[in-house]
Amino acid sequence: MSDPINVRALAVGTRVMLGSGAEVEIIVNPEDGVWLFARYLSSADDPAMVGTEDMIFAQDVVEIRP
């Protein structure tokens, strides 16, 4: 298991990978340490998600992309 990521500290524009393998870009960070507002850049599971915006749960964030 990877180390937990502190989502509170992630800047707008940061790209992160989710447990599903999808990649999203942060558009708003409410800094509550629980949620991020993000836009889907890729989503192998459900390609229709690409381009849509959604709330991302902190436990779903597995990796910060360079």
């Binding site: 409410p30 509550d32 629980v34 949620w35 507002f37 709330m55 749960f57 436990q59």
Partner: protein, 461 residues
Amino acid sequence: MPMNATRGYHSGLVDLTSGQISREIFVNEDIYAQEQERVFARSWLFVGHESQIPNNGDFFVSRMGEESVILCRDRSGAVRVFLNSCRHRGMKVCRYDDGNAAVFTCPYHGWSYGTDGALVGVPFFREAYHSELDKTKWGLVPVAQLACYKGTVWANWDASAPPFLEHLGEFRRFLDLILDGWDGREGQAELIGGVQKWIIPCNWKFPAENFSGDTYHNISHRSVDLVGAGPSGRSRRDYNELNVARKLHVALPDRGHQTITYALPKDHQPQAAYQNSPEVAEYFRHCEEERRRRPGSNNRLMGAPGEIFPNVALLPRQPRTLAVWHPKSAHETEVWRFFFVDRDAPQQVKNFLRDYYIRYSGPAGMTEQDDMENWNYAHAASRGVIARRYPYTYEMGMGHAVENYEWDGLQIPGRVIDLTKAQASEEPMRNLYRRWAQFMEADSWDELMPWRHETAAQAAQ
């Protein structure tokens, strides 16, 4: 009305014929529990001031009765009030005093609510709930009614209660004395500083009746008068108008609101005040002159302590403040005191007033400390099994109130006792407890709005 006018609240706990009220209504825990349901869950309650939430997303965590509520300005600019309790397991969603938020996220399992109260984020919504939870049904609980009046925000959990201004009735002009500018312009008040919050070990009705217009306890503040805490270094307040004014108790029997007020003669001139600071003195002198130029009867009223039923105290003048007596238990009250200044006043005036306000009011205020000491020990000394057998007397001035009071062309609403000679009466307290007993007995708001039935009866004639 189901209430027997002479022996109210079932067993005669409030007996307005003899002017006696049982100590049980202050110290009995069953009565306290009933009050939460019958008084606080259906009354209009003060929750805050719009100057606390100027921007979209701003919030202030307030209280209604014993319960925490969130006052916020949502992302579209609308003012909202919600119960501060997560719909999942009840966790307090917002634990800050105030701030700005994009969403309110529950710390327990992470449900997240928009500033409009809608449930927007549910962890593992697709995986664990299989997208089957109907999020539209699980938003934060909104109040049934909300009213913004000259910046103040009021809310009510009961959809059948009358609109706020109808509940206020003719008492509106006394509230206006705080909310309008000192120069008479409408709605110029803004909050200064933070809200002072503290706990007093007494039932909430001790402060509520005191602020209803207890002029009898002036002796209790003698030491403050001797120290000269007032803004001119004398007494407690600048009250030079008293030499020419009529001092009145005003009570609105069908509403339960009551106050002390001073009626000024038609042609009275501004009196010297704020003599410890020439700039502040000049500001108020200018405002007083402006106010006299504006039409309307309020420029002949000088504000003094009053109470809006059930738990909001006003002090329109020196210091200009609203207090909310939040019930915490039968034996504890959490006071929240809000202080006001004219929005456009020079900073120097605001600073001077802040110093005066906190010297007078609040947990460290000299005058408020006198009051707290009295309520604290009066409550404790009324709790015992022997003490409870002996009622308090409220018979002062019984039968001496008049209706249609007029002086020098100024008409005053409600029932009035002229205190200019009498000095004190207990008419305001009787008015408070009459209304309280009506609330404790009435099963619906319909029984609590006699004025509507009178209007309907007149129309039928």
